[in-house]
């Protein structure tokens, strides 16, 4: 009597689990594509780092001079440093938030645009032999301004509201970057080929937004089903000045 009960219980449990597994939608969709531009982009000037002789020396040892990174283009009219992210859509499993590292090296911010989620820890490191100051200029989050002499520990912080926050160094005024704080856990920053890829999406309708610091945001809607890959392309119209 008892044995039959146990077998039935196990059987029902196994069947139920199989049904659950089969019935739950897989988070395996992908949205990918490229960000490009039409028109003539502005010429990015070479940065004169002479006020910091150490940086100037490092710069002169490089093969390519360091230029401003407001508009970085690549082969095939691609645009770099565009943040492509999910601005609306079904909830996806949250990815674990590990530390985002923002480095000051050779009087440049590496990376130029750092993307993070709300409340995700951000660590700012000074790898140079001279002082920098980190001055984020948010409008919604609280503003702060701290210097970071060489050899001092990294600054750890986080942002609690989504925002596109310009960051600058006042001591080296050419240093400029962005902290992009998002609510979404799916985002991608385009590299030199302008491509982006958002993986691990549950099926549903999504609004995907692309943001470039000079040219602003544009959005598109796309529906993803199962584990299919959808391709999107974003095109920015640019002017030389």
């Amino acid at each position: 009597m008892k044995l039959r009960f146990v077998f039935t219980l196990v059987g029902v449990t196994l069947l139920g689990s199989a049904l659950l597994v089969v019935g739950a939608p897989p988070a395996a969709g992908t949205i990918e594509g490229k960000v490009t531009y039409t028109g003539t982009p502005p010429k990015m000037k070479v940065i004169d780092m002479s006020k910091e002789p150490g940086c100037q020396k490092e710069q002169s040892a490089r093969t390519e001079p360091v230029r401003y990174q407001t508009v970085v283009t690549g082969a095939g009219n691609s645009l770099q440093w565009v943040v492509v992210y999910v601005s609306a859509g079904p909830p996806s499993p949250a990815t674990p938030a590990k530390q985002v590292v923002y480095d000051q090296k050779g009087c440049e911010y590496i990376p130029h645009v750092a993307v993070m989620q709300v409340d995700q820890p951000l660590e700012i490191v000074n790898s140079d032999q001279w002082a920098h100051n980190i001055h984020p200029m948010p409008k919604v989050n609280p503003e702060w301004n701290k210097s970071q002499p060489p050899g001092t520990p990294p600054i750890t912080t986080k942002w609690d509201k989504p925002e596109f926050i310009p960051v600058k160094c006042n001591i080296h005024p050419w240093m400029h970057g962005y902290f992009v704080v998002l609510n979404s856990s799916h985002y991608s920053v385009t590299g030199s080929d302008g491509s982006f890829s958002l993986k691990g999406l549950a099926p549903g309708k999504y609004t995907i937004t692309a943001w470039q610091e000079d040219f602003g945001s544009q959005s598109q809607e796309v529906t993803v089903a199962g584990n299919e890959t959808k391709t999107l392309s974003f095109v920015y119209k640019v002017l030389p000045y």
Partner: protein, 268 residues
Amino acid sequence: MGKTFTIVLVAITVVSAAFFIFHGQLLWLPEDVSVHGPGIDHQLMETMVGTGILFLLGQLVLCVFVWQSSGRKEGWKPRTFPGGPKPMVISAILAVGLEILALSFVGSKVWAGMYMNTPDSQALHIDVQAGQFAFYFRYAGPDSKFGELHPEKINQADGNFFGLDPRNDVAARDDVVTATMAIPVDRPIQLTMHSQDVIHSFYVRELRIHQDIVPGLMIPLHFTANKTGRFEIACTQLCGLGHYEMRAFLEVMPQDKFDAWLKQQESQ
């Protein structure tokens, strides 16, 4: 105690004076590379000699009187300085007064030479922008016209330090903006200086020039460098946390090298 005071003060006086006299290269002004600089240096030396004499006299005479005072025995009848206060008043008015007249007269001429003569019509004009925490320089470019300044358009992220508007302002399109100030030697230079945020100051030791840059004002400054070299421009008006790191470099070069440099900057 009085004798100890004398010995200590004499030692202090002698050591202090020695460092002024035997200053070497480190504890002194750097060499002077401007046309108006010798006037300033001459004024400084005159003052140094005059005050040096007064310093030595003042401290050592005090020492002599203290030494004498401490050597006197019980029952000493105090003596007034011969003539009372009158010789003090007269010598102060004469010595200091004459010194003041001489220094003011000569100094005013040097000062007027720096600030109160019209700048040379052949001067090279350079626009200087100061902002937390760097100096930027602007040359007019091939059209010899400076574009207009629009503070609301300042965008350091793009390297638009001056707030130029090349889209709408044709004169601004060829303006050359640099972080290093290069000038030809032996040519009058006319600076127009402005600040985008707080008060900064433009100080080049070797040129003996020093001028605060005040937001809201366009401040002219002219000089002529008569020696080539690389000199530092330091900010000397407290402007925030990066004040100690606010600098730029001045390169004085022969006219032909300067022309080549400017051409190279224009092409970038």
